[in-house]
Amino acid sequence: MKRKVCITVLAIVFYCLQTTFCKTIAIASVSPNIMILIPICFGYFKGKNEGIFAGCVTGLLYDVFYTSLLGFSILAFTYVGYIAGLFQKEFDQKRMIIPMIITAVASFSYDFLIYVGGFLLYNKLNAFYYTGRIIIPGMMYTLAAMALLFRPMYYLSGVFEKKDRRKVTEYVSGN
C-alpha cells in the first residue's frame, strides 16, 4: 500500500517536472519523456502488478489535461509496465542493459503510435521526417534520463520495500 502511495506521489512529481522543467531543458524542442520511466522502473524492479499500477497512474495523469483521447496513454503505459514486469526475473542491480532496451522500445513505440493516430491518419505521410525529427531524438533523450534516474529510482523503490518488510516481520514476531 505504501509503495502505491509512493508511486502516485512520484507520478505527480514527475508530471509536474515534465510539463515545466523538462520543457526548459528541451533540445531543439524535443524533451525527454520521464513519465514513461515510472512504469518501466517499477515493473522491472517489483514485477508485473506494480508495473501495471504505475502505468495506470502515470498514464491517467498524462492523459487528463492534454490528450483528447482519454485512455490511450493509460493503455500504453499499462502495457509498458506489464512488459517491463516480465523481465523482473532478469533483474540485476548492476546491469542496466535490459531496462535501457525496454525504455528504447517503449519510448519509440509510444511516440510512433501517437504519430500514427495523430498525424498519419491526418494525411501527414512523411514518416521518416517525424521519426527522425521527433521520435528518435525523444527516445535518445529519454534513454539519457533513464541512465541518470535508474539508481535514484531503484533506491526509492527499495526504501519502501524495507519499511514494508519490517512491518511484516514485526507482525510475525508479535504473534
Binding site: Q18, K23, I52, C56, F65, Y66, G71, I114, Y130
Partner: protein, 278 residues
C-alpha cells in the same frame, strides 16, 4: 479479527480489465469530453499549484542568472537610456502636439480606435504539453478570472492561440503553430482572405503555412496578416505575422506560402487573454 478472504487477481486479469476499460474510455472520449471533467478537477487541485511553484522557482533562478550576466551591461545601458530619455521627452512634447491634431482629424473621420479597447487580462504560462507532438500550454488563470473557452490569447502584440479548456484556476491554450490548427486570416492592406495553418514539419524554420489566397491576390514578402473579419472564433484585426514566399499553387487557382509569426513561441512566459469573445 477475522481474516478477509484472500482474493488474488492475476496480473493478466488486471491487464485485460484495464484494456477493456481504456478501450471503452477512448470510445466515449471520441464523442464527448464530459467524462474527463471530474478527473481534471481532481488532478488540477494537486498539479496546478505544484506547476506554479516549480515555475516560480524557475523564473526566479533564471532572473537571477540573467541579472548576474547582465550587470555590467545594464550600468552602461543605464547611461545610454538617460540620454535617450532626455531626447524622448523633447520628442514627446512635439508628438503630443501632433496627437491633438490626429484626434481632431480622427473625430472628423469618425474612426474609432477599434482594437485597442478589447478587455484583456494577463496570465503566465505555467506548463506545457507533456509529449513532444503538440504545441499546447497551460496558463495560471481560469474560470474564476472570467476566462472562457474560445477566448483569444495574444502576446508581444501578436496572436498566440485560443483557449480550448478551462478549469477553476487554469486554462489550456492551443497555439496557432500547433499541428493542423487553422486560423482564418486576411491581408491588412487589401482584406484578401487566407488560411494560416500550423505544422509540426515546419517547426525548425519557425514558420507556419499560409494557404488559399485567391490567385489574383497581390501579396509580397513582409505584408502583414491579421485575423480576418469572417473568422468565427478569432476577433478581428489581431496581428498574426508576416508573409513569406507566397507563390501560385500548381492548380493555378490559389496562392500559398509561409507566414512568420510575430510571437516567439519558444520563450513564451506571459500572455494576454482577450476577454471579449466573437
Amino acid at each position: 479479527m477475522k481474516k478477509l478472504p484472500n482474493i488474488s487477481i492475476s496480473s493478466k486479469q488486471w491487464l485485460t480489465g484495464i484494456t477493456i476499460v481504456c478501450v471503452i474510455l477512448m470510445g466515449i472520449s471520441l464523442f464527448t469530453d464530459k467524462i474527463s471533467v471530474p478527473l481534471k478537477r481532481v488532478a488540477s487541485v494537486i498539479v496546478v499549484p505544484m506547476q506554479k511553484g516549480i515555475n516560480d522557482i524557475g523564473t526566479y533562478v533564471y532572473s537571477k542568472y540573467t541579472l548576474l550576466k547582465d550587470f555590467s551591461r545594464i550600468s552602461e545601458e543605464n547611461l545610454q537610456l538617460k540620454e535617450e530619455i532626455a531626447r524622448l521627452t523633447e520628442e514627446n512634447s512635439q508628438l503630443s502636439l501632433n496627437k491633438f491634431e490626429l484626434e481632431r482629424l480622427r473625430a472628423l473621420y469618425d474612426l474609432d480606435d477599434k482594437y485597442a479597447n478589447y478587455q484583456k487580462t494577463a496570465a503566465r504560462v505555467i506548463a506545457k504539453e507533456a509529449g513532444n507532438w503538440y504545441s499546447v500550454f497551460t496558463i495560471d488563470k481560469g474560470s474564476q478570472d472570467g476566462i472562457e473557452v474560445d477566448m483569444n490569447v495574444i502576446a508581444n502584440g501578436g496572436l498566440v492561440g485560443i483557449i480550448t479548456d478551462v478549469g477553476e484556476d487554469y486554462a489550456i491554450v492551443r497555439t496557432i503553430i500547433d499541428d493542423g490548427n487553422n486560423v482564418s486570416g486576411m491581408l491588412i492592406n487589401t482584406g484578401a482572405t487566407c488560411t494560416v495553418e500550423g505544422s509540426l514539419s515546419l517547426m525548425d524554420s519557425g514558420y507556419v503555412y499560409l494557404k488559399y489566397f485567391k490567385n489574383d491576390t497581390e501579396v509580397k514578402d513582409g505584408d502583414k496578416i491579421v485575423t480576418s473579419n469572417i473568422s468565427s472564433k478569432y476577433v478581428e484585426g489581431l496581428l498574426i505575422g508576416y508573409v513569406k514566399e507566397v507563390t501560385t499553387d500548381p492548380n493555378s487557382l490559389t496562392k500559398s506560402g509561409y507566414l512568420i509569426p510575430v510571437v516567439d513561441f519558444e520563450h513564451l512566459q506571459e500572455v494576454l487573454v482577450i476577454l471579449d469573445k466573437k
